[in-house]
């Protein structure tokens, strides 16, 4: 390197050493590091079969349905509905696209779920908590 490149190199690092910490501090200051400790999850029921495991937890006054689809449901369009207090199909919670983990928020407590193929209008499975 010649003298000019060495100078450019030095000033580049001086600039980075000043600007990056400022940016990182501004990013960090809005983060809530205590959030995971403060959140408590109360289990409110669960159920599972060979294909699906579902559990309902309550956190900060909101219900969260955790769904683990273990194997593909062989359906082009699978929609998850909540079971209401009477055990009937209630509010639509969301859609699932394949195997994997899903979470759906719910304002009310639910008694279970129904997964339906809405194209064929067929019930794929029903789980009660």
């Amino acid at each position: 390197m010649d003298a000019n490149l060495r100078k450019r190199h030095k000033y580049s690092w001086l600039l980075l050493a000043i600007i990056l910490p400022i940016l990182l501090i501004l990013i960090i200051k809005d983060l809530d590091f205590n959030q995971p400790e403060n959140v408590s999850y109360e289990p409110n029921g669960s159920s599972s079969n060979d294909m699906v495991a579902a559990s309902l937890v309550k956190s900060k006054g909101t219900y969260i349905l955790e769904l683990n689809i273990k194997s593909p449901l062989r359906s082009a369009s699978s929609v998850v509905y909540a079971l209401n207090m009477k055990g009937e199909k209630g509010t639509k919670l969301g859609q699932i696209n394949g195997a994997g983990s899903y979470t759906f928020p719910s304002e009310k407590e639910i008694q279970g779920i129904i997964i339906q193929d809405i194209l064929k209008n067929q019930e794929i499975l029903k789980l009660e908590f």
């Binding site: 490149l5 990182l24 990013i27 809005d30």
Partner: protein
């Protein structure tokens, strides 16, 4: 010192170096996957690939960035500088796999172009904490692509070492973008003090090493020796230079390396014609000044590479008075023969 261009020039040492790089990468990936399966078995394959290659690229970038200053601060680290370009290209490949998988995984299921989706899926450009971090990673990947694709000696020769080196300093911009990309990406998904700690520690180590090395170099650049009546510059006592080694001094805006070998002294311009390596930090091997960066060689008494190679550097006249070395600050044409002085 190549006579022609080949896709990649490998010698025994480069092959060993490359094997170590490949083995290190494979070991890291295996370890990452094994730990993920042990502690987080629900992680899907795509996520595992994205995280494994992303973290590998970040670790490799940190290693690449500490090699330069470590070598300037301690010559024992010079061997790891030897094939840094291959390490850089390997790091780019790891970053590319991370980027491609991330784009496929997150942006190919929509009805817009995936690259367009990278820039538009999160439009919170006004927020620092929720800034679209994928854009930063994408821009860093473009810089790394540019650097990897121009890393060959063909571009070095045709752009000139000065321009090439200046362009490749863009790696510092890429580092800043990647640091912010990882910070924001990690935080927007999971706030982890461990991740913050590692990244902050890495940044402190890298920036401190670069600054310490830069200020050390500034001291050498600031050297202003006294001149005698004939305009020759007094540099040092002859005993300050170890056998087959050199001392580096600034003569005006240029650096000169004064070598001591076989009871003789010769001075040549300190900058290697290949990549601008510091010849004065190398040593005399087989009668030739050998650049510590990539092994380019020059004869000390005329600054010429031994035949059939054609590189040449400027030479300088020396004088010895009562064991004190004086140098004529006006350099001679590159490759000019200068009779070495006896010491």
């Amino acid at each position: 010192m190549g006579l022609d261009y080949k896709m990649v020039l490998w010698n025994k040492h480069k092959k060993t170096y490359d094997k170590i790089i490949a083995l290190g990468m494979v070991l890291y990936l295996v370890l990452f996957i094994a730990l993920t399966l042990a502690f987080n078995p629900e992680t899907i394959a795509e996520t595992m690939i994205i995280r494994a290659f992303g973290s590998l690229a970040v670790i490799m970038l940190h290693i690449i960035l500490v090699i330069g200053p470590l070598s300037r601060l301690n010559p024992q680290f010079l061997p790891i500088l030897y094939n840094r370009r291959h390490l850089g290209v390997s790091m780019f490949l790891a970053a590319l796999i991370h980027g491609v998988f991330a784009i496929i995984h997150f942006h190919t299921l929509g009805n817009v172009n995936p690259i367009y989706a990278v820039f538009t899926s999160n439009m919170d450009y006004g927020s620092l904490t929720n800034f679209p971090f994928q854009v930063l990673g994408f821009l860093a990947l473009l810089i790394l692509f540019f650097m990897a694709s121009t890393s060959h000696d063909f571009f070095l020769k045709n752009l000139s070492p000065n321009v090439w080196k200046g362009l490749h300093m863009l790696v510092y911009v890429a580092y800043a973008l990647i640091l912010l990309h990882v910070f924001l990406g990690a935080f927007q998904q999971e706030t982890s003090i461990f991740t913050i700690g590692i990244l902050v520690l890495g940044f402190i180590v890298i920036s401190s090493l670069h600054l310490v090395a830069a200020f050390k170099e500034s001291k050498v650049d600031g050297f202003r020796g006294e001149k005698d009546t004939g305009g020759w510059l007094k540099v040092c006592d002859v005993h300050e230079i170890p056998e087959d080694r050199a001392k580096i001094f600034s003569v005006g805006e240029k650096r000169v390396a004064i070598f001591k070998y076989d009871g003789k002294l010769s001075a040549i311009h300190n900058v290697c014609k290949h990549q601008g390596g510091p010849l004065g930090e190398g040593k005399i091997v087989d009668g030739c000044v050998t650049c510590p960066w990539h092994g380019y060689q020059y004869l000390p008494h005329n600054g010429q590479s031994p035949p059939p190679f054609t590189e040449k550097v400027a030479t300088y006249e020396l004088r010895l008075d009562n064991d004190i070395i004086y140098i004529n600050p006006i350099g001679l044409e590159e490759g000019t023969e200068v009779e070495p002085i006896l010491c």
